[in-house]
């Protein structure tokens, strides 16, 4: 079964897409409705898995798999933080912790209405026609009426290392900065706590000694 370039067309596929989308939205709503924080975390994960499934039906095999991969790890780590920092991790007592709930609902409804009106009012066939007469991104053969169709994984790989390399550079440096900043913010012990006031200890004074002799 070849799962690339799966095109969605026809009424049945439309219903399937709509159903999967409804599941994603329902699980998103469930995040803020359930009392148990652990279940809220995994409801969010379910929403992401539904969106990844939709990406997969569009032919984006790599992006769908990467979304599931990244989000699962993130939600597992978030579950730990939920249990650590939230009052009601198991949902044993019903509670709602909202402030300014009504104005937030008003803003959210406005956002939804504006976006949906925009989506259904725009003449997309004109946009599609305009896009198909533009040249390609410079990586593939740029004929008179658009570039050739490349496998999506190959397409994004070539783009990120070629025409869109700025994205790769920025992402790489940003992630490195994030790792360093998060580590600095998260630890409460610095060099002087570990090695003494004059940094003279040979072995660091850690509560959990590691596996290496250093």
């Amino acid at each position: 079964m070849n799962a690339d370039a799966v095109a969605v067309s026809g009424v049945v596929d439309l219903v399937g897409v709509g159903a999967l989308g409804a599941v994603a939205v329902a699980l998103g709503v469930a995040v803020f409705v359930v009392d148990s924080m652990a279940r809220a975390t995994f409801a969010l994960l379910g929403s992401f898995v539904a969106v990844a499934g939709l990406l997969w039906t569009l032919g984006l095999a790599y992006l769908g798999a990467v979304t599931v991969l990244m989000m699962t790890v993130e939600m597992a780590v978030m579950a730990v933080f939920m249990v650590a920092f939230m009052m009601n991790p198991a949902g044993l007592m019903p509670m709602t912790m909202v402030h300014a709930g009504r104005s937030a609902a008003a803003v959210a409804t406005t956002v939804f209405v504006v976006l949906v009106v925009g989506v259904w009012v725009v003449d997309w066939s004109a946009v599609v026609a305009g896009a198909s007469t533009a040249t390609g991104d410079g990586m593939g053969p740029t004929g008179s009426a658009g570039a050739a169709m490349v496998e999506p994984t190959l397409q994004v790989g070539r783009a990120v290392m070629g025409s869109h390399m700025l994205v790769m550079l920025v992402v790489g440096v940003t992630l490195l900065a994030t790792i360093l900043a998060a580590t600095v913010l998260a630890t409460d012990r610095g060099r002087y706590d570990r090695f003494g006031d004059d940094l003279s200890r040979r072995r660091p004074d850690d509560p959990v000694t590691g596996g290496l002799p250093r």
Partner: protein, 292 residues
């Protein structure tokens, strides 16, 4: 295809218990005992997440099996342009499953085991990803059939031994077995599985054994040439390689003690991760020079 998959699922689920207990009847007997056992329930468990865990472990194993070429003709159920990432995603679902399995009985020891698993998971995940990336770099593609094609000259275990070793260790770690059985260890009274009994325990244990078998089959596919090879070729050759990989893992695990996670985390981040990056660098240089 279905017949081949059923055969593989049965063989892989039983392979690890048979090799570990060195008896054919013992795994079946303990499985039957678990089926008939009355499940024990503690006050206020999280039933939804417990059931999610019980369903997720075997399902993740089956999802991972979908990209292994188990068919009688050497095809897999699924051939996407990102098979390696699919396998990685199926394996990561185990994180959710083991955390939920530890959370749901509302008991301290399983929860501690679940947290230990997450700490261990963070340590092995990056080296595992880098070893998969190295395979993708050498094959020029993330598709398993392309990986098999690229191994027609030489098996990848010769080109990237560090990646192969890391993959096998990560397989033991995400099944929380052997030297990486800290989350289910004796010092926690069974850890994540301490309070699980009955059919749920059977599903979790069988799913865990199945996933380890699938990982062994994936090792044979990615690093040992899969169904093809210099001596023979065919689906039974892949099965034989899988059995050999599992036997090697069981033999090694018998000689190693259970490594406490607070020691393996240090070694994983400071030694193993740089090694996998260097391995990826070496393979990339080889690919650029045209050797691979």
């Amino acid at each position: 295809m279905t017949a081949a998959t059923v055969l593989w699922v049965v063989v892989l689920a039983l392979l690890l218990p048979i090799l570990q207990t060195r008896s054919l009847r013992e795994p079946l007997r303990s499985g039957a005992r678990l089926l008939a056992e009355q499940p024990r329930r503690l006050p206020a468990p999280d039933v939804l997440l417990g059931r999610l865990a019980v369903v997720l472990v075997p399902s993740a194993a089956l999802l991972a099996l979908a990209v292994v070429p188990v068919g009688f003709a050497g095809a897999a159920w699924l051939s996407t342009s990102a098979d390696l990432v699919w396998f990685n995603a199926a394996e990561v679902l185990l994180w959710v499953a083991w955390w939920c399995a530890g959370w749901s009985p509302n008991s301290v020891l399983p929860l501690v085991g679940a947290y230990r698993f997450l700490a261990q998971g963070l340590s092995y995940e990056l080296p595992l990803m880098f070893s998969l990336i190295t395979v993708g770099v050498a094959a020029g593609s993330l598709r398993v059939s392309d990986v098999l094609l690229a191994q027609q000259g030489v098996w990848f275990v010769v080109v990237m031994p560090v990646a192969a070793a890391v993959f096998m260790c990560a397989a033991a770690a995400f099944a929380s077995w052997g030297p990486f059985a800290g989350p289910m260890g004796r010092d926690l009274g069974g850890g994540v599985l301490a309070e699980t009994t009955g059919p749920a325990r059977l599903a979790l244990s069988a799913g865990r054994a199945l996933f380890l078998g699938v990982a062994a089959a994936m090792t044979a596919t990615l690093f040992l040439g899969g169904p093809a090879g210099p001596v023979a070729s065919g689906w039974w050759w892949l099965l034989l390689k899988t059995v050999l990989v599992t036997a090697v893992m069981v033999a090694l695990a018998r000689r190693l003690p259970v490594l406490p996670p607070d020691r393996t985390v240090d070694v994983a981040w400071v030694v193993v991760l740089p090694l996998t990056i260097v391995q990826a660098l070496v393979v990339s240089v080889l690919v650029l020079r045209g050797v691979l």
